[in-house]
């Protein structure tokens, strides 16, 4: 344990003063995201957590270092908050990146796909087109898990809940952590 005496304490302060001066010179402004709703900020962070609590089969990635892509299909409600949330983060060596897709045809190799409310009218077609892919589909469209999606957000009494269709997850080859399952409402789709 270093025991500092009074003179070394003054030393400390002197160095501290210098450090602060440098900081002032090199100050950068960070632009806070004010223009998207709190709800989508939270949802962005939820998606960041999903990336950590879901296991993809190794063949879902082209290599051990290839990125874990979070795609946003349709109108992007996150602005760049999702980018800021995952910036510099990685999961098991896969750096997290965000991509945006205008339509189903442009969806490339992604591991998580957030399907925006703008796609609600063609949800059936979108989910059918993703069938058989190891993609974790996430959306806040009503009854998303009941309709074959994997994770649906539901806002109940001003709080965000998430609901998981475990059958759809299994079909996609995804494994969920027990922690995630414990916190989720499990949805069993009605027999069609």
């Amino acid at each position: 344990m270093p025991v500092l005496n009074a003179s070394s304490a003054r030393h400390w302060l002197a160095r501290l003063t210098l450090a602060v001066a440098i900081l002032f010179v090199g100050r950068q402004m960070t632009c806070a995201q004010e223009n998207i709703s709190t709800e989508y900020k939270f949802k962005a962070v939820f998606m960041f957590h999903f990336a950590q609590f879901v296991d993809w089969p190794t063949n879902a990635f082209s290599s051990a270092q290839s990125p874990l892509v979070i795609g946003v299909l349709g109108d992007d409600p996150f602005d760049d908050f999702l980018d800021a949330t995952v910036h510099g983060e990685n999961v098991n060596g896969h750096p997290l990146v965000v991509e945006r897709y205008h339509d189903l045809a442009s969806v490339k190799d992604c591991q998580i796909l957030f399907i925006s409310a703008s796609e609600e009218s063609q949800l059936g077609r979108v989910l059918a087109g993703l069938k058989g892919k190891t993609i974790l589909t996430v959306s806040d469209i009503d009854s998303f898990p009941e309709n074959g999606g994997i994770i649906g957000f539901a806002t109940i009494q001003n709080k965000i809940h998430f609901r998981i269709n475990t059958d759809a997850a299994r079909d996609a080859g995804l494994t969920f952590s027990s922690k995630l399952l414990r916190l989720a409402d499990i949805v069993t789709p009605k027999a069609k």
Partner: protein
């Protein structure tokens, strides 16, 4: 018989007794079943929702408790825990400018926190905040931090990187059913963050007047898939306070702590935690000499989830503490004074091993059931060449405990929780701590509760084995001891009646109120030896006191604007402790209470433009009647103010300036052995730079 009171006062001055015997192990029952429900849902208040990094600090559970419609809000547990709980969040600690855990505890409205000198604090809930305060249980990540020597917590040895503390849960009122003996007047649970949420590099440092210099660093990384770790170290150096005559109290001190935590949160029902810390400190003592402390611990925990509503947990820890404490000379109260024992040293070594199991399950649709069992072994050695010794000098003890608790859903909005803990300790045998709580969810945002509980404070080494010796010939031949412990000392007991109400009134206002009526029995006293003992020496500890206390705790929060939050708190405490009829106490029942009758707290938290935070905290503490000296004295009531100005310069760097106790150049908060010799706490300030990468 003035001299009758001197001995006890002297012990207090000599040893840095602070606190409480903690004897049991159950903690972390914080899943869904119980009183400790707050753990899971401890979403931090005042989260900066514009900051991805701040939001990422939140666990999924916390995120799910965040209200999407308000920028900042109180944590949710309010609705759900039928007890008087104050939850101190990580964010509140950071904004308060607290540099240590005892300072952070000033954020709890339901505690009395009094700083005695540069390195010692007296902290209690609902009274009995003497220098031997012993009715509050304190846990750090499930490890009870107490010395069974004095039944107290050495607050100066409890430290952490404050930014890595997830929350501090302060429960006033008994918690014996879950936590066991010594959770009499309250329980403090200090919970550090999972290593999963302390990833990356954190460095802080700074210095100032009283807090002269400090620095800390933590690094968190990934060991393997889903296995996270952090390592940390910190150092703090504090200056001296002053004596009433203006001289330095010569009680400067420094402390260092380091440690690690590994959390394995795999994609399976099993989760593991392994953590350990060491702490070393050197403290100058006003009465002369220097105390040295060193302790370390290692804790492992395995949590197994059986299903959505059932889980079990096994925890084991090893905890070792060492204390070398200078004991001042003792003198008689005669004129001229006679030297009874010269200065010397007390060396205390304590080794604790603790094993703890608990299991939570649902029985049917209505019953949320939790049970557990625990075992603790302590081995303590007290070597002394001073007037303060222990007989026997070494003691090995076993503590066995078992508890059950059931929460029954009577109606959709009415829950009854009842249970008991049974413990067996080597001092007094079996002890029972039952409780019953009824919770009524009046509306979605309002909850009312009532509770009846029994709690016990087990004997400590002081009560049973203390020997305040006379070592100077020839006096030691006539009076070998001044004050001795009593092997027939029994547990102090409490029957507590409580009620409370909490409400979230719209988006901006939340409030809580609790009232209590406590009936104590067998509280510690001291009495003279019967003739032919010369002059009644030695005095002997007995359980000759009883009494009642009652009071209320109020708190309210008001989010005036989305950048400005106000908080107010108020405590009232009335104490009536008396000697049981037909029995005696040399201190006339004055020795156990040194408490402010009223406390008032105001806090303001502002988020100003350009990433500036400005926080102020004003407190008014009622006068304290000092009971430990030869005559009753008073420490006057006081106002004090703390303030912090913080500026997030860049995403990674924050600078802050903190002022503490700004209203007076110096003031007294506590006082022993007398107001004339007690130390004054000085106005102080420091600057801090924090970097996160």
């Amino acid at each position: 018989m003035n001299s009758c009171i001197i001995p006890i006062a002297k012990i207090r001055a000599g040893v840095r007794f602070t606190g409480l015997l903690i004897t049991t192990s159950f903690l972390i029952i914080s899943t869904n079943a119980s009183l400790a429900q707050t753990d899971v849902s401890s979403a931090s208040a005042n989260i900066d929702t514009n900051s991805p990094s701040a939001l990422k600090e939140l666990s999924l559970e916390q995120l799910m408790n965040m209200d999407v419609t308000s920028v900042t809000r109180e944590p949710e547990p309010y609705k759900e825990a039928p007890a008087s709980i104050d939850l101190i969040t990580s964010d509140e600690i950071g904004r308060s400018g607290a540099s240590s855990i005892p300072e952070a505890l000033r954020l709890a409205d339901n505690l009395d926190v009094a700083q005695k000198n540069s390195h010692d604090w007296a902290i209690s809930a609902r009274g009995f905040n003497t220098s031997l305060a012993n009715k509050l249980l304190v846990l750090v990540d499930g490890r009870t931090v107490y010395t069974p020597l004095f039944a107290g917590v050495y607050w100066d040895q409890q430290d952490y990187i404050l930014a890595d503390i997830d929350h501090i849960e302060v429960i006033s009122g008994p918690g014996g059913t879950l936590w066991g003996a010594n959770a009499v007047n309250g329980v403090i649970n200090i919970t550090t963050k999972s290593a999963e949420y302390t990833q990356g590099l954190y460095v802080d440092g700074g210095g100032g007047s009283w807090l002269r210099d400090f620095g800390g660093a933590r690094y968190g990384g990934v060991l393997a898939s889903n296995v996270y770790y952090r390592i940390y170290g910190k150092y703090s150096g504090y200056g001296s306070e002053v004596l009433p005559n203006g001289n330095s109290a010569n009680d400067s001190w420094n402390m260092g702590q380091g440690g690690f935590r590994i959390d394995d949160v795999p994609l399976s029902p099993n989760a593991y935690t392994l953590q350990g810390d060491f702490n070393a400190g050197h403290e100058n003592v006003t009465t002369g000499g220097r105390a040295n402390v060193f302790d370390y611990n290692l804790l492992g925990r395995w949590t197994h989830t059986l299903s959505d509503d059932s889980d079990m947990q096994l925890q084991a820890y090893f905890y070792r503490t060492h204390l070398t404490d200078p004991i001042p000379a003792s003198f008689s109260a005669t004129t001229p004074p006679i030297l009874l024992a010269p200065t010397g040293t007390l060396i205390d070594d304590l080794t604790t091993f603790d094993l703890d199991f608990q299991h939570r399950l649902h029985l049917g649709a209505r019953n949320n059931f939790v049970w557990g069992a625990g075992y603790r072994r302590t081995a303590e050695s007290d070597q002394s060449d001073s007037g303060l010794a222990f007989n026997p000098p070494t003691l090995d003890q076993n503590l066995y405990s078992f508890f059950v608790q059931d929460q029954i859903k009577l109606l959709e909005n009415l829950h009854l929780t009842f249970g008991t803990k049974v413990e067996h300790n080597d001092y007094t045998g079996f002890e029972e701590e039952p409780s019953g709580r009824l919770q009524w969810d009046v509306t979605k945002n309002q909850m009312a509760w009532v509770a009846v509980s029994r709690a016990v404070r087990m004997p400590s080494r002081v009560d049973e084995a203390e020997n305040e010796r006379v070592t100077t010939p020839p006096f030691n031949a006539i009076i070998p001891s001044i004050l001795v412990g009593n092997s027939n000392f029994v547990s102090e007991t409490l029957i507590a009646f409580e009620a409370g109400y909490r409400a979230q009134l719209g988006q901006k206002v939340s409030s809580s109120v609790s009232v209590f009526y406590n009936l104590y029995n067998d509280i510690r006293s001291a009495q003279a030896s019967p003739p032919p003992a010369p002059l009644g020496f030695p005095f002997i500890f007995e359980n000759n006191l009883k009494g009642e206390t009652y009071g209320t705790e109020l708190a309210g929060d008001y989010q005036i604007l989305n950048w400005w939050r106000l908080h107010a708190g108020y405590d009232l405490l009335k104490e009536n402790i008396y000697v049981k009829s037909g029995q005696t106490d040399i201190n006339a029942a004055h020795n156990e209470t040194a408490d402010p009758q009223q406390q008032v707290f105001f806090r303001s938290s502002m988020d100003l433009p350009a990433n500036v935070q400005f926080d102020t905290s004003l407190r008014w503490i009622d006068s304290i009647t000092l009971n430990s000296g030869a005559a009753l004295e008073t420490i006057p009531s006081y106002f004090e103010l703390d303030a912090r100005l913080g500026w997030q310069v860049t995403k990674n760097i924050e600078v802050a300036v903190v002022g503490q106790n700004l209203l007076h150049a110096q003031h007294q908060e506590y006082g022993y052995p007398s107001s004339a010799s007690t130390e004054n706490i000085v106005r102080s300030g420091y600057g801090e730079v924090t970097c996160r990468f």
